[in-house]
Symmetry: C2
Subunit: 299 residues, 2 copies
């Protein structure tokens, strides 16, 4: 069935070096990567919170407020670029951002290297895998390898795509059909049901102006390219596990899935959708929650 659908299921993960995955997991949880020792990667990308956190904008080192909603780390490997504005091409490149951002980890690579090299166990663990021990490139490699292990296959929707017609209820199937009919799928497409293109938020209306209090972050991809047509353009976010990752949008302004769908319909499609259709689409979105390492995700 999958071949005729605009969304393929999450593929089986290939073998990753288990030593790198384990070391990456340690580093992911390590607050020494932040300047004041209060923030680790996991602070904003919590495995128990859909790979994200529950805040509109995350709290960084020193209590600083981030400028955008933390995207989930789950399935991030399938995104065609990282960050809301797509400014990093790879998971490895992405790591530079939070490490040095004063509103996130507020540190620097020399500082991180210094702290980690004081830890004999870390030194040994790195040297077992990497000839040159604790280096920036190796830290990134370990963390990115760990992140590549964070795929969430086997959602009910994926089971449906693979041919299990009973994996979805009739209401959820109707929601998927509506998702395609309303052309949500025109942007939320591919294996991540998003994450493979950029789009402007606010096609049929000025989302940013209507919401009020515009910020520099609202400029989106414009901040990367400087092209005026990239104002308010963002990477289309993945809808995988979307039921777990409220609040929604780059600004975290939508508190519920219902609200998010209504706002998308208004600004991206220029229409109101009926309550019945809304209920069905949300029911479909709730089938996108997958499993991590064979276990159901925390809800």
């Amino acid at each position: 069935m999958a071949i005729d659908e605009p969304i393929p299921p999450i593929p089986e993960s290939e073998a990753l070096d288990p030593r790198k995955v384990a070391l990456g997991a340690l580093l992911f949880d390590d607050p020494r990567l932040s300047g004041d020792g209060t923030v680790a990667c996991v602070s904003c990308h919590n495995m128990a919170l859909g790979g994200s956190d529950q805040f509109a904008r995350s709290i960084g080192a020193g209590g600083a407020l981030g400028v955008v909603n933390a995207p989930t780390v789950f399935n991030a490997r399938f995104n065609f670029a990282q960050f809301w504005d797509g400014r990093a091409a790879t998971l490895e490149d992405q790591i530079d951002g939070p490490i040095s951002n004063p509103r996130e980890m507020g540190s620097s690579w020399p500082e991180v290297l210094g702290k980690l090299r004081e830890d004999r166990e870390h030194v040994a663990a790195f040297q077992e895998i990497y000839k040159d021990g604790i280096q920036v490139v190796n830290i990134k490699d370990a963390i990115a390898t760990f992140e590549r292990s964070l795929t969430t296959p086997d959602s009910r929707f994926d089971r449906y795509l693979k041919g299990d017609a009973g994996a979805l209820t009739e209401e959820e199937k109707a929601g998927y059909e509506l998702f395609k009919m309303y052309r949500c799928v025109a942007c939320h497409q591919g294996v991540n049901i998003g994450g493979n293109m950029f789009a402007k938020i606010g096609v049929f209306g000025d989302y940013v102006a209507d919401r009020g209090n515009p910020t520099e972050a609202d400029l989106g991809r414009f901040n990367v390219t400087g092209r005026s047509r990239d104002r308010h353009v963002f990477k289309v976010p993945s809808l995988r596990n979307v039921a777990l990752t409220a609040p929604y949008f780059h600004d975290g302004s939508a508190k519920t899935l219902d609200e998010a769908v209504v706002v998308m319909a208004k600004y991206q499609l220029g229409r109101r959708i009926s309550d019945t259709d809304l209920t069905r689409i949300v029911a479909f979105l709730q089938t996108l929650t997958g499993e991590l390492r064979g276990q159901p995700l925390w809800q």
Copy 2:
């Protein structure tokens, strides 16, 4: 500019064997390809009528009424398949259809070969190009080569795509933006602004039932595949030169561009669009008229 757009301009045509093009043109106009000598390819694919005719359904040999609207031969080479139901993969394969269809040319290849081989000039013309003279494969090659020469580049829209910002008026540009915003472009995409995918006519409503008097031809691609999900599925038609090819749809039921856009909005998008937006979209569609061999198309 073209690289960021979902529609590329028509490319420059490559060199075609001018002897084949000339022979194909002769054959295209030759009523001996029909059983009763009253119909040539050009009867339904008239260069002065947008490469089509002005009828909802064409008149074939013996005055028979065709079952679908004749699609234009212009730019047919860019379609991913031929016929409304996509049953022919190539221009060469397509020719078999009208030759033998009793509602079109009502002939057969042995009959056509017999007639053409009586014509000394034709025999000589074929032998100059093809060692084995008048053969079905050579007739098809010549006609298909002629058809490949029938591209219509340099529409105002293509000039706009190539960077001539002044080629479109502000209203026409607004129409193009709406064409994208309403996601018309989700189906009418690629170099032919259509012709590269199949789609069901009647997504938000039962177009065929609402129109009444359903025919076998309304089953569309179902007639090719026998799969129930292919009922009412057709090749998305090209919008190139669409201002010249009324009436519209596989059944020729829409008499004007305005009507066609309103019906598409209703059945494919499930919405009404404002008169202002309709006017702009139609203004955009009128910029899709190209040139044939460097000359404006007859309007």
